[in-house]
């Protein structure tokens, strides 16, 4: 049989355009700051992209959108986004964001930071911002460790895991972050992994549009500083996310401890409406101001 010469899937090199097509997110990136600092195999880039896609697709006014980060690998997010962006002190992204949002309620404020920053040194701020229902969105990249400083134990490190400061294994119990957010009063709580990038960006978009304190936890590998010490290669992490995750919306937050053997529960766990800090402040302290609010702003 005469063999039909198969046309190559790839056009010859000469057909590549001189100026390569821009990445669809280039408009939201400070491309002059690339390359970024994140290691190969790190999941922060995916979490970051999902966050940018969410910002773009949610339809919010990007000129009025701000990203705030604390310190750490994920904390570098604010440095790469081409929006008004603030890279603050360690643990303090949330109170900084609170000040921004209260001073100018027109701003969409997104906090993008890591588990060490938001839940150890900044844990107190997290629970209080959720309690107050400050209308901000917190995206936490949870890689179980302090990556920037070389892989120390975090408030999220699984028990028995090895880190540089738990060389014999972690004897402590990690936080269940969605439970903490729920118990503190968050209006929106979800968890995804970087493997579930589409669900993640949809969820972040929902969180951004949510009036009130919204929280999205993103499980993400840190092969350099966590995986390496716990026999977990980047591909292993992705396989775990693929094989052992269970999507269970509205799951009971008390069941959300991360346990690879039992399975990692993902999904949207909380989506409630309650008045925001500003709503309540105006209602309580300056009701005359509410006359100037639009109908949409009055909702909630």
């Amino acid at each position: 049989m005469k063999q039909i010469k198969k046309e190559s899937q790839h056009p010859p090199a000469k057909h590549f355009p001189k100026h390569p097509q821009k990445h669809p997110l280039d408009g939201l990136l400070r491309t002059d700051r690339i390359p970024h600092i994140w290691c190969s195999g790190c999941g922060i880039g995916t979490a970051f992209s999902s966050c940018l896609i969410a910002m773009k697709e949610s339809g919010i006014d990007l000129k009025k959108t701000v990203m705030v980060s604390g310190i750490g690998c994920s904390g570098r997010g604010a440095g790469y986004v081409k929006l008004d962006s603030f890279h603050t002190t360690h643990g303090r992204a949330i109170p900084f964001a609170t000040g921004l949002k209260i001073a100018n309620p027109e701003l969409n404020v997104v906090v993008f930071s890591g588990d060490g920053d938001l839940f150890a040194i900044g844990g107190n701020h997290f629970i209080h911002a959720a309690r107050r229902n400050v209308d901000i969105t917190v995206v936490c990249v949870n890689n179980f460790t302090y990556g920037m400083t070389g892989g120390q134990v975090a408030a999220t490190t699984p028990t028995f895991s090895k880190t540089t400061t738990t060389p014999l294994g972690n004897s402590e119990t990690p936080f269940n972050l969605p439970l903490m957010a729920y118990a503190s009063g968050a209006a929106y709580v979800a968890r995804w992994t970087i493997l579930h990038a589409r669900n993640l960006s949809e969820s972040i978009a929902e969180a951004i549009l949510k009036r009130g304190f919204s929280f999205v936890e993103v499980l993400s590998p840190c092969p350099t500083n966590y995986g390496r010490r716990n026999k977990e290669k980047p591909i292993d992490s992705m396989l775990i996310y693929k094989d052992r995750s269970i999507i269970k919306n509205d799951a009971n937050p008390t069941e959300l401890d991360i346990d690879y053997n039992r399975g990692i529960i993902l999904g949207k766990f909380v989506d409630i409406d309650r008045p925001t800090w500003t709503d309540m402040y105006i209602k309580t302290c300056c009701p005359e101001e509410s006359d100037t609010l639009s109908e949409e702003e009055k909702v909630g």
């Binding site: 603030f86 100018n104 209080h128 302290c285």
Partner: protein, 389 residues
């Protein structure tokens, strides 16, 4: 959030803490992030009631770190913002004061000083945080620190603090003390038209070419607020003119020298002092805050004894009026620094006076004011020795 300050023009009998809050309202402050602490709580209490009337926002944060950080965040949103605290809270705020210095975010921090270290004497005054005000955050920087001596003055100094802060894009600290904070006395609040409240310089023109840290007038960059459309990036990392982090010795050198320079080059505009009977003075008392008030009586008492004493009252403590002390050192016999600590500003007086004139300290660790008698006693004994020599 539009602020329409309804200021209480007229004559009042109020505490220093309340006068401070009223000064903030008059200056156009529209965000206050607080946390209760004796003896500064009354500032929060008063402004919590007054800010919503003025279109502003008050929030009691979960700790002092959150309070100062929310204040910096609010400032980045383009509003005038402040917080008030005392020693322990002031210690907690130190890291973020450094952030405000590095990001060049205007804000006002009031420290109603009490005796430390640690919990110390919570309800009793001191002036023990003066060096902390200068050097409390890590790294090398310049900061502006004011010290009011009366309830009336704290009203005006709060306005002055906002003006300096907005002009130089630097946190301005008002270092008052428990005595002034809790002292009720006459305060006259003038007509709003007579109050000069300055605003920060905002950029105009092409948004894509704006460099958030390019030095502008007086070496101070123009400041865009979040949401103005300039896509600014601000960081506590060492950064270049475009705001991006640059981890080089050269950039650090350039940035720190500019941050320090914008204050040092403008000391003539920033430093304010008050001279009392200095013209013919042979002995100069250097003091500030409540201690300057008791020192006034000491000047009079010394004069009745035939000793030509005068008072240099520091309104701005930092940057320190070095030139003024150096000049005085040429003509006076000696300096006496009066302060409620065991020698902080005294060290500066000593440094600036150099070999030209000796400097003595009248101080104690805190809990009460320094009596004029104690000051006169020191003046008398040193004076008699200096005559013998």
């Amino acid at each position: 959030m539009k602020v329409k300050p309804k200021i209480l023009t007229g004559e009042h009998f109020m505490t220093g803490d309340v006068a401070c809050a009223e000064g903030a309202i008059a200056a156009g402050c529209s965000f206050f992030g607080g946390y209760p602490i004796t003896p500064a709580t009354e500032i929060s209490e008063h402004i919590a009631r007054r800010l919503p009337e003025a279109g502003g926002r008050f929030i009691q944060m979960e700790d002092e770190i959150a309070a100062i950080t929310s204040v910096i965040g609010a400032s980045c949103a383009g509003v005038k913002s402040m917080t008030a605290t005392s020693g322990p809270g002031f210690s907690l705020m130190m890291e973020s004061i450094g952030l405000a210095i590095c990001m060049e975010t205007p804000c006002v921090v009031v420290n109603v000083q009490r005796a430390g270290p640690s919990t110390g004497l919570p309800t009793q005054g001191a002036q023990g945080d003066m060096m902390q005000a200068r050097w409390g955050s890590h790294g090398h920087y310049e900061i502006i620190v004011l010290a009011p001596s009366s309830a009336q003055e704290i009203f005006y100094q709060t306005i002055m603090a906002f003006n300096l802060s907005e002009t130089y894009r630097v946190p301005v600290l008002i270092m008052t003390d428990e005595v002034i904070g809790h002292l009720s006395e006459r305060v006259i609040i003038p007509d709003i038209k007579t109050i000069r409240a300055l605003e920060r310089q905002k950029p105009k023109g092409r948004k894509d070419r704006f460099k958030p840290y390019k030095p502008g007038p007086k070496g101070v960059p123009l400041m865009a607020a979040a949401g103005d459309g300039y896509n600014i990036h601000m960081t506590g990392l060492t950064h270049g003119e475009n705001g991006y982090p640059v981890m080089t010795v050269e950039t650090h050198d350039e940035m720190i020298n500019r941050l320090v320079g914008k204050i040092r080059q403008n000391v003539d505009d920033i430093i304010k002092t008050e001279a009392y009977r200095l013209d013919d003075a042979e002995i100069v008392i250097v003091s500030y805050g409540v201690s300057a008030r008791t020192s006034l009586a000491a000047v009079e008492d010394a004069r009745t004894l035939g000793i030509k004493a005068g008072l240099l009252r520091l309104i701005t403590v930092w940057p320190f009026p070095e030139e003024q002390i150096r000049k005085l050192a040429e003509t006076v016999k000696f300096f006496v620094t009066v302060e409620i600590n065991l020698g902080q500003i005294h060290l500066e007086v000593e440094r600036c006076a150099g070999e030209k004139a000796p400097a003595y300290l009248v101080g104690h660790p805190g809990g009460t004011v320094i009596s004029p008698e104690k000051v006169v006693e020191t003046i008398k004994s040193v004076y008699s020795m200096s005559i013998l020599i």
